[in-house]
């Protein structure tokens, strides 16, 4: 279970306790390697106790497109640990709130299942205890109608079930932490709606900032399946109860992200910011920039420790994209210059684990990493890394596949699957070079990073 060696360096044997010749007690104590904690601030956040901790680059869960099976790979030695065939096609894969599990969500079957990556950390008060075990399927299955948006924030995962108006099924949200999944808890915090919607929910401690669909007659949305309101819900006995609703403030709401303080939602006319101030929940709105005349922010990216967000405006289903930075502190939005490969469109976006980089992977296999400079109003994002991960032509991309990436949860590395060359490469964002590459004997469709996440001090 633990990684510490069982080499004994001292053997103490205490025996004895013979009571009047009857009854016997014998104790053998073998001292093992101690756990030494040197308390260096090496980016371990406040979790820099090295007691029983494991130094590991983590694991990757790679979807083998041909076999529709998840392959779990140990990044320390690039060994395949196990393969898990998936029951259904058309899954959405992501990691759990604490990076321990792969979350397999299927909109068609309504099931959300979990595969334990086998690497996790527990806080045992006096020490942190890391565990390294073989990957395994979890017995927990969440079910609902059309699970669609899966949002991870601060250790929690919110599964938004869109519901189905044809079947008369309303939308709902379930929020699980890794501890819930480990305990296979039946008590899952849930928000139940009365109508269906294509919505999204952001977990914030024991609050849930979630979309609210009003009556179609009242709705400011052009497409009323998209909600136009945001509500704050508070958890009581496994159920989220409404605290406040910001009604009609976000027409055609799509896309959301949260930092420690703010939640940002994409609307057709700008972005809506929700945050708590002096115990009261407040909302504010940032209008679209001029460059967003024909498109709107439909995806938002944030970092727990960042006080800025990046919004992506593009036509539905991808294609060319305009990036904007969103600063809730100054209530401002500004355009970000992004240069992609020839004829390329972005296929994936993410913040790096430290929040220092915002990475964009495009359809030509080019990774662009933006780095923030300055502070407040003077803050701007510049391209710091621009790197092609393949020399092949995008035209050679096997049908139905694309480049995909996963950012590490404990270092500024990005793992990119390259189906053209059947490789997986690792890019070090700090040095801007590819510092690792392995060949795969299958076509990778999705890649997920799993392991013991670290957060860097601000």
């Amino acid at each position: 279970m633990t990684k510490n060696n069982t080499l004994s360096i001292l053997a103490l044997a205490i025996s004895g306790a013979l009571l009047g010749g009857c009854g016997d007690a014998e104790t053998n104590i073998i001292e093992k390697d101690p756990i030494v904690d040197d308390h260096d601030h090496d980016g371990g956040g406040e979790h820099d106790h090295d007691d029983l901790t494991i130094e590991s680059a983590g694991r990757l869960a790679i979807l083998n497109a041909d076999a529709n099976a998840l392959v779990i790979v140990d990044l320390d030695d690039n060994q395949e640990l196990d393969t898990f065939p998936l029951a259904s096609e058309g899954n959405t894969l992501t990691h759990s709130g604490g990076y321990r599990y792969v979350v397999v969500s299927n909109r068609a079957t309504g099931e959300v299942t979990f595969i334990d990556g086998g690497l996790w950390r527990e806080d045992h008060v006096d020490h942190l205890h890391d565990y390294e075990q073989v990957p395994a399927t979890s017995d927990l299955t969440l079910t609902g109608s059309r699970p669609t948006h899966l949002v991870k924030h601060d250790g929690q995962l919110a599964v938004f079930y869109d519901g189905d108006s044809d079947a008369g099924l309303p939308a709902s949200v379930q929020v699980v932490s890794d501890t819930h999944i480990a305990a296979e808890s039946s008590a899952i915090p849930t928000l139940a709606y009365t109508v269906n919607m294509h919505g999204v929910a952001e977990p914030m401690d024991d609050y849930l900032i979630a979309t609210v669909r009003r009556d179609d007659a009242e709705s400011t949305s052009a497409n009323t399946i998209l909600p136009d309101s945001v509500g704050v819900f508070h958890l009581h006995d496994d159920e989220y109860e409404e605290e406040v609703v910001f009604a009609g403030e976000c027409p055609d709401l799509h896309g959301a992200a949260s930092s420690e303080t703010y939640s940002v939602f994409g609307c057709s006319d700008g972005v809506l910011i929700v945050h708590q101030h002096d115990g009261e929940w407040e909302s504010s709105k940032i209008d679209n920039t001029d460059s967003l005349s024909s498109v709107r922010v439909g995806s938002v990216y944030g970092h727990h420790h960042g006080d800025y967000f990046i919004g992506v405006a593009s036509g539905h289903g991808g294609g060319e994209a305009t990036l904007v930075t969103i600063d809730p502190e100054t209530n401002s939005m500004r355009d970000v210059a992004l240069e992609l490969g020839d004829d390329a469109v972005p296929v994936s976006y993410a913040f790096s684990y430290s929040g220092e980089y915002f990475v964009v992977l495009d359809s030509s296999g080019r990774l662009t990493a933006l780095h923030s400079h300055g502070e407040g109003d003077a803050q701007h994002w510049d391209t710091e890394v621009s790197l092609a991960v393949t020399s092949g032509s995008a035209a050679d991309m096997p049908d139905g596949l694309s480049f995909t990436m996963a950012v590490s949860g404990n270092s500024d590395h990005v793992y990119i699957s390259n189906p053209i060359d059947k490789t997986m490469v690792r890019v070090d964002l700090d040095s801007g070079v590819i510092d690792g590459e392995v060949s795969l004997d299958y076509l990778a469709e999705t890649v997920i990073w799993l392991g013991i996440a670290e957060t860097e001090h601000e």
């Binding site: 104790t27 390697d33 756990i35 601030h41």
Partner: protein
């Protein structure tokens, strides 16, 4: 009242056989010659049980020639044991005459040999029938606390375990049908016992050392919850209850039913209980100023349910069956606040258990072997403590147990047998409150019990030897920053309990040990019961019992939120070193040995009866926790995410420190008495009196903590065919024999009343009842409770209920 195998000539008349058949028939009568309806006759050499009809008549068929002991039991009468000899091809008619008893006598089912309140050398009590239904509560300790010698460690209505003669925790074993209940209730007072009274048929208490039958965990006694989950007969019967109570808005529904056909028996029970936070006569927190504080114990609500299914194969010679139980309970943990005056954290426990039991008994017509009793169980227990809807700690206990008792035919007049017992438990706690490392305990034991009657004297002897191993591969000794509060007052309240700050730039080392222990406890006991004159007996029991200390007593190292202490096991000791205040103990880990003498005087028959027990229990190497004067970080913060959140840090400011309690062993002496007397005034009125007292001291001076006070009680009962009324007045006296860090607890008097009326609805027996508890709405703080200052007993409560039998 009669002793085992006591043949009383006046009570029975062996008549001349008339018909050639292997049948015993006859009538059970009372001492005035009135037939006794519903008396149960059990032939001990087989598993045959029959009941008398309305004329008091019975018939036992298919009896082979031989010598039989017949055991006759009926409510309101003393038990009768009578030997009869059946010759070849004869039909016996035999009448049994029962003598009324003012104290109810019910046999214990926990042990393979018969024990009852009036008949055994060591003291036992049984709660069953209407009395059980009247006294059953949501938690086990509270259900039993009106029994002499048993008190509750009352934990805010949500959890409680019985304290027997001042002993509890790892010294009192809780069993279900004779098999370990296998939960984590022995580890913390906030952990509920995974057993339910409302579906049980009787609850038995063995006071004093019972290691002979149950092993290490039973040095202070045993509580056995009995239900009919594996039916030994398939007569269709059942019982249901619906009840509502005012003080906590309790709603209870419980049902159990037994039926069957041919050789098969079936059983089902289920219950559902929901309670809200309970009301108190005063502000629950002793420290809370003013009368404006609400008189409610916050976070004391609970929600539990369970279902048990069982089936058995029943033959003339015995039965064997299997039962499956699912038990769920969710309850708030009151007083579980870490923020002091700040808003209490809603911490609750969610426990579930799956229990499989295989029980059987088979009688032989063999020259040596008379009867085999077989019990096997598998339990899988899980208990999550949830804070802010995140599992903080997860306790798990997986136990397998097997117990086989082989009872021999009388050998030179001795009745008894050999018992083989195996148990293995994996106990783990994961998360914030994981103060005990994962461990595996294995136990194998062999025991022998024998008894024989020599004239007026019954002799009971027993011995048992066990082998217990306890293995914990990763026992941790962290270098905690334990410190004395007096020395660093201001500074202490400023630091923000971030571990970084506390040990800044230091290197700390957590030592890791692979601990394996092997214990060989040996227990033996000898007892005599002497019927020195008609209707009286005196019993003397001398025992020496040994116990292996439990994993939590030895290996703990960490914060125990339930008791708000930082627990350190006996494997460790204070070093006196400033760098690391605690190190490995150099003292050997010894067995705990109890040397117990029990003296009992009983008046067994007549309108006035009594049972007086006195005991003296000297315990060598008594393991207990004592305060070290040090304080350590609980490290318990409520932010379970990846990062500290600033709010959490502010909130947990300076309240996250816990006093360090260290387990160590010292010799202790516990002595005391229990008294029970009953007066059957006439056919309707019965008055009962009881008192109990225990003094628990260390041999070197000082009292043990949380020792229940002297208690006296009076119960008045009125019973007609359709009305049953009871008034209970119990006085808990002031406790001022206190341990160093304890405070005195005031005495209080509880008044409870109960009245029920029997109806016949749709040819079913239904009673409607009204009950009142704590009628004077008095402030009652329980000295033996960890929550004495935070959660007094509930205030006045009125309950109504319906109970039916079919």
């Amino acid at each position: 009242m009669r002793q085992k195998y006591l043949a009383v000539a006046v009570c029975c008349a062996l008549q001349v056989p008339t018909v050639a058949a292997e049948t015993i028939s006859g009538t059970v009568l009372d001492d005035k010659g009135v037939p006794v309806t519903g008396a149960v006759l059990r032939v001990e050499q087989s598993s045959t049980r029959v009941k008398t009809n309305e004329s008091g008549e019975f018939s036992i068929n298919s009896v082979k020639p031989g010598t039989y002991s017949v055991h006759v039991m009926a409510p309101g009468f003393g038990h009768l044991h009578q030997d009869i000899v059946v010759d070849d091809g004869r039909h016996f008619t035999v009448d049994f005459v029962l003598t009324p008893s003012s104290i109810e006598v019910i046999d214990i089912l926990a042990t393979p040999i018969h024990l009852s309140v009036m008949e055994s050398a060591s003291p036992v009590s049984v709660l069953s029938g209407e009395t059980l239904r009247r006294q059953q509560a949501g938690t086990l300790g509270d259900s039993l606390e009106k029994l002499p010698g048993v008190q509750s460690n009352f934990h805010g209505n949500v959890a409680s375990t019985p304290i027997i003669r001042g002993l509890s925790g790892p010294r009192v074993l809780v069993t279900q049908n004779g098999l370990d209940v296998s939960d984590v209730s022995r580890v913390g007072p906030d952990h509920a016992v995974a057993s339910e009274a409302s579906t049980s048929q009787q609850i038995e208490v063995l006071r004093g050392p019972a290691t002979l039958f149950f092993g290490s965990g039973a040095i202070g006694g045993v509580v056995n919850v009995v239900d009919g989950r594996v039916p030994s007969d398939n007569t269709t019967r059942g019982e249901w209850t619906l009840e509502a109570d005012s003080v906590n808005d309790q709603k209870l529904a419980a049902v159990n039913a037994t039926t069957g056909a041919g050789n098969l028996g079936f059983y089902i029970d289920g219950y559902w209980r929901e309670t809200d936070d309970y009301d108190t006569p005063v502000a629950p927190d002793n420290d809370e100023e003013g009368q404006n504080a609400p008189h409610v114990v916050k976070n004391s609500a609970s929600d539990s349910n369970g279902i048990t299914l069982g089936t058995s194969y029943i033959s003339d010679n015995g039965y064997v069956g299997i039962a499956l139980e699912r038990f769920n309970r969710e309850y708030g943990i009151p007083g579980h606040s870490h923020g002091g005056e700040e808003a209490e954290e809603e911490v609750y426990a969610d426990l579930s258990q799956t229990k499989v039991q295989i029980l059987g008994e088979y009688s032989f017509n063999h020259t040596l072997l008379q009867r085999v009793q077989f019990k096997a169980g598998h339990t899988s227990y899980e208990h999550a403590e949830i804070e802010q809807d995140v599992t903080g700690t997860l306790f798990e206990n997986d136990t397998d147990e097997l117990r086989v008792s082989l009872m021999h035919q009388p050998l030179a007049g001795w009745n008894g047998g050999v018992s083989l017992h195996y148990k293995t438990s994996d106990v783990a706690a994961v998360g914030e409150e994981a103060f005990t490392p994962p461990s595996t305990a294995d136990m194998f034991a062999i025991g022998i019990m024998e008894e024989q009657r020599f004239g007026n004297v019954l002799v009971q002897l027993g011995a048992r030897v066990e082998r217990v191993t306890l293995d914990a591969a990763n026992t941790l000794l962290p270098a905690i920053a334990a410190h004395d509060h007096d020395e660093e007052d201001d500074d202490d309240h400023d630091h923000d309990h971030d571990h970084d700050d506390e040990h800044s730039d230091e290197t700390t080392v957590t030592r890791v040990f692979d601990v394996s222990q092997e214990f060989t406890p040996v227990s033996f006991s000898a007892g005599v019961v002497w019927d020195f004159t008609e209707g009286y007996n005196v019993g003397l029991s001398v025992s020496r019992a040994q116990r292996a200390p439990s994993a939590s007593e030895l290996l703990s190292f960490g914060p125990h939120i339930g008791t708000r202490t930082y627990e350190v096991g006996a494997l460790f000791a204070l070093t006196g070193d400033e760098e690391s205040a605690l190190g490995l103990s150099q003292q050997a880990v010894d067995l705990e040995t109890s040397n117990n003498i029990d003296l009992t005087l009983r008046k067994t028959t007549g309108d006035i009866g009594f049972v007086l027990n006195a005991f003296y229990n000297q315990v060598d190497n008594y393991y207990f926790q004592s305060e070290t004067g040090l304080f350590a970080e609980s490290g318990h913060d409520h932010d379970h995410g990846d990062e500290h959140d600033h709010d959490a840090e502010d909130e947990h400011d300076h309240d996250s420190e816990l006093p360090v309690y260290l387990f160590s062993s010292h010799d202790a002496v516990l002595h005391g008495f229990e008294a029970q007397a009953a007066w059957q005034v006439n056919a309707e009125f019965n008055a009962q009196f009881f008192a109990d007292y225990v003094r628990a001291k260390l041999k070197d001076g000082g009292d043990l903590p949380r020792t229940p006070p002297l208690r006296t009680g009076l119960q008045l009962n009125y019973q007609t065919e359709s009305i049953s009324a009871h008034i209970d007045v119990t006085r808990y006296h002031k406790q001022d024999d206190i341990a160093e860090y304890e405070t005195e607890t005031n005495g209080y008097t509880l008044v409870d009343a109960f009245v029920s009326y029997d109806l016949n609805v749709l040819s079913q027996d239904v009673s409607v009842y009204l009950k009142g508890t704590n009628l004077t709405d008095t402030e009652a703080r329980v000295h033996s409770s960890f929550l004495k200052d935070l959660a007094p007993r509930p205030g006045r409560s009125i309950g109504v209920g319906l109970r039916g039998y079919f």
